[in-house]
Symmetry: C2
Amino acid sequence: LDSTVETTHLRSRVPDPRLVALDWGTSSLRTFLLGDAGILLEERFLPFGIMRLPAMGDASRGERRDRFEIAFEQGCGDWVRSRPSLPVIAAGMVGSAQGWCEAPYLPVPVSVRDIGNYLIGFRSAQGHLIRIVPGLKQTSGPIDVMRGEETQVLGALPTSDKPGHDQDFLFGLPGTHSKWVDVSRGQIVHFTTYMTGEVYAVLCAHTILGQTMDLNSHPDPAAFEQGVRFASSDAGEAGFLSNIFSTRALGLVGSLSAANQSEYLSGILIAHELGFLSKTRRSEVGQTLALKPIILVGEDSLCTRYLRALKLLGYQNMQVASNAMQRGLWNIAVQAQLVN
Amino acid sequence: LDSTVETTHLRSRVPDPRLVALDWGTSSLRTFLLGDAGILLEERFLPFGIMRLPAMGDASRGERRDRFEIAFEQGCGDWVRSRPSLPVIAAGMVGSAQGWCEAPYLPVPVSVRDIGNYLIGFRSAQGHLIRIVPGLKQTSGPIDVMRGEETQVLGALPTSDKPGHDQDFLFGLPGTHSKWVDVSRGQIVHFTTYMTGEVYAVLCAHTILGQTMDLNSHPDPAAFEQGVRFASSDAGEAGFLSNIFSTRALGLVGSLSAANQSEYLSGILIAHELGFLSKTRRSEVGQTLALKPIILVGEDSLCTRYLRALKLLGYQNMQVASNAMQRGLWNIAVQAQLVN
């Protein structure tokens, strides 16, 4: 008996793993080994998004399914082999039609507390049971889809034991494809995708706007704010396709240096993304919307950029959430009773 | 005396050349040999835009100035050598800072009848005098610039001997960088650039939107109209960066076939470009604007596309101008008394 107690005591110094959680997107795979209460024990980052799966041996090709197996093995094979009963959960594009196992979209509105009831399970070639979080589909109003962001929203949702914790929030998830997600009383009621990050990248890399940019100099941070102000002024009424050209026009007449053009353009794009806030605020619905606290989820540098733009536009009630995906995956595993 | 008459008579069958006119843009060079009253005697097309100048011999490089000389020689060297007194006029990016000889911008407002007073002349290495049409710069309101379109507007401006021919017009010049030019009482008073064509091309070639497009099938023309309607509906309020994503979202849920996605996206972009019309119409200025006749100048297929969108949006007073650049170059040469 004594020896058993001793062993338990020793083990408690290194918490037992409870869950393998996968954030598996288009361009990368992050794996988390989580302990009790979702505490992070180990984390790995691999460049094996579903559109960048590892090659197979010399052949550099192979069945797509096999390439998922290799990525999974490299991301967490040792974790699941050493404890075969460890549950595995994954969110993101891994559940898309191009993913490892398709998890059909859930329609919105959906309660974030219900998502764990709709996991899709399948077994890997090695026999590990893997559960996939479904994405969301919006069919009333403009059609839209998300995969992974529903999990981040759940992970970033403030929790409280106090009554009334089902406050309304507006979640902003800036990135390649930014999402803005409207959460009311614990339900995702509406969301909108903006291709801001991807459009910014192609404008810089593949259009005339990039040709005059000097990306090696330190830009003046004021250039970003200049872009935000321009696009949110009356000049913004000319629209996105016109506003972006001002980057070049200002450069041609010597009013915007090569070093500052990328920051200025970034300000224009983000202001156009955030334009819906003021448009909605003008309408009746918006009166409510603008009063909701805004929670940003994403890379720190990107969230900082959005915070600056939001402040310039007059918004005040903003916060940035961290570890949203990791926390969301844990919460969904709890909902699904994969962990206690 | 008789023999002189005979010679004149023979010559009259092949009209005398009066002007060499060059439409020299970023990606191509078009040369026109024009006779009395601007009649077209000969036309050439060369892929030698100022950013695609011909290489020099084996070296495939060379001084930029020399490469302009080669392009000029290939475009019209024989014409000017056979008649050294023939005046030469050029419009477009050839007069930019990256051009052959920089012609400083004229500020708007400017009377289209005055442009010929501001030609910049220089001599080629062979000694030919070449006159460049200046571009226009707008510094009140949003900064903007054009080079070449001022000449097209002049060439497309309806002329009449009747009093009141100084009617107001709105010129639309769709293309890689579309321009909308507001002409009032013979003056270019305001203009705006839209990067519609270039942004459309990079969205198809370099973003996720292009990945699901099937560009080899025949699209349903209704898909273009579906895009126009979507972007000009309430859904358009979410903005350009969101609206374009609907191409993918509709595809993912099976509501937009791969064959139709490029047409749908084209409709979204053109509707966003044309959005300024309804925005301006809402304001006081717009009441006037929307009543102006719209004159489109550009490639036939592109003008047809814009006509369809304009009709869908409820506009009626539109026409398409042809040979605008050739006619504009002739008109400016007349203003400058290079020809009678």
